[in-house]
Symmetry: C2
Subunit: 199 residues, 2 copies
DNA sequence: ATCATTTGTTTCTTATAGGAAACTTTTCCA
DNA sequence: TGGAAAAGTTTCCTATAAGAAACAAATGAT
C-alpha cells in the first residue's frame, strides 16, 4: 500500500474522481516501476501516464486496458464508484439447511448467503439425485468460472473436451463454466456438492 | 476454448478489436433499450453510443464506466483481449488431500486447483487446530470477498463489528474480507473449513 | 402504397487525449 | 556540498473523442 491511501487498509473509496489515477499509481509503484518503464510495458508514453495518475486527463478505455494488463491490475476495482456496495463491511451467515431452496427435476439447489445481494460469488449446495448415467441431458453452459467441492456421495463430473471424471467426497474441481458441464450421481445415494460460481 | 470454435455460446473472443462494442450492444439489447434510452441512462449521446457499438471510436474509460453501470455489464469481460487466459476451456481437479500444502502456526492450508493460474477465485481447505480462545491473535484483513463453508468440526468465526459466530459442519458465511476476520476451533478436534476467496 | 414517427448512422465542430520535447524536481555519487 | 543523471511534470501540437444536427433506414398507422 502506498503514500496515497489514507488508512493502511482502506477499501476502494467510492465517488472519488481521482480513484482511477490512484489505483494505477499504486499498482505501478507496487511493481517498483518508473513512469518510463510502466509506459513502455503498456505501450504508452510516460507523459500520458503521468497525467493519468494525476487525474489530469480522462484516458481512453483502450489505454486503461493496456495498463491493467501491464500492471496486472484487478479490473473490477477500477469500476468502483457509487458508494460501497452492500457487501462492504458486512457478513451473511447461513446455517446448515437454512438456505433458500430451488428445485429442478435433476438437481435440488440450496442457495447460500442470499442476504448479500451485491456479492460477486454465488455459493450453493446441490443435491444430485442418484440415477442412471443414460439420463444425462444437455450441457449446462454459462459465462464465468466455477468451483465445485464434493461434500458427500459419489458422482461423475462431465465437461466438454475432457473425459468423465469420477469424484467422491473431498474432491474438487475448478473449471471454465463456458464449457458445457454437468454431473450425475453414481453412488447408491444422492450426492451433495458445494458450488461457487463467479460472474 | 480455442479460436476456432464458433459455437452459439461463444466465449468472449480474444484479440477481437470489436469486442468492446459487441459486448455493449449485446448488453443494451438485452435490456431492450434504444440508443437514445441507453445513452440517457448512461448520460451520453446516442451518436457516441452508436459509434462505440460499431467500433468507430475508442471511447474514454469514463464513458465505458458509465455504460457498464447503466447496462449492468460484467466488467471483467470487457478486458478480455489478448489471448484467452489459461482457464478458458479448461478444468483442474484436485482429489481429496491432493492439494498443495501451506503451513502456518495456527492454520494448515491445502490450496486447491493450483494448476489453473489465471483463475479468479482461490479455493482452499484449512484445518484449524483445536485450541483455547485466549490464543486468538490479530485480524486477517485483505481486499475482497470471501465465502467459508464448515466441512467438519466446530469453530467460532470472528469479524469486526459483529459478535462471535459459533459454527458447525454445514454452516457457511459470506463476508467482506476487508473487515478483520479470523476463526478458532472450539470443538474437541481440529475443524475443517473450505474457503473461497475472491480478489 | 403513403406518410409520420422512431431508431440508427454519418457528418461536422469543438474540446481534449496522447505523445514529443522542454522543463523541473529528485536522487545519488564524486 | 555540487553537478550529473534519472524521474516526474508541463507545454505544445496533432489526432481524435464526443455531442449536435443532418441524414437514412426501419417501423407503423391509416
Amino acid at each position: 500500500m502506498d503514500p496515497v491511501s489514507q488508512s493502511e487498509d482502506e477499501i476502494a473509496d467510492a465517488s472519488d474522481p481521482d480513484h482511477l489515477g490512484k489505483m494505477i499509481r499504486e499498482a505501478r509503484l507496487r511493481k517498483g516501476w518508473t513512469l518510463e518503464e510502466a509506459g513502455k510495458a503498456a505501450g504508452i508514453g510516460r507523459s500520458t501516464l503521468s497525467k493519468i495518475e494525476n487525474s489530469q486527463t480522462r484516458p481512453s478505455f483502450d489505454i486503461v486496458r493496456r495498463l491493467t494488463k501491464a500492471l496486472e491490475l484487478k479490473t473490477p476495482q477500477l469500476f468502483v464508484q457509487s458508494g460501497p456496495s452492500d457487501i462492504s463491511g458486512r457478513r451473511d451467515v447461513t446455517f446448515a439447511g437454512g438456505g433458500e431452496m430451488q428445485e429442478t427435476p435433476t438437481y435440488s439447489h440450496e442457495l447460500l448467503c442470499t442476504e448479500l445481494t451485491s456479492k460477486r460469488m454465488f455459493p450453493y449446495i446441490s443435491t444430485i439425485k442418484a440415477r442412471d448415467v443414460s439420463e444425462f441431458e444437455s450441457w449446462i453452459r454459462h459465462r464465468g468460472e466455477e468451483f465445485m467441492f464434493v461434500i458427500s456421495g459419489e458422482l461423475t463430473f462431465f465437461t466438454e473436451h475432457y473425459r468423465p471424471l469420477p469424484m467422491k467426497a473431498g474432491d474438487s474441481v475448478y473449471y471454465d463454466s463456458g464449457m458445457g458441464h454437468g454431473c450425475i450421481s453414481t453412488g447408491e445415494e444422492d450426492a451433495k456438492v458445494l458450488w461457487v460460481s463467479l460472474e
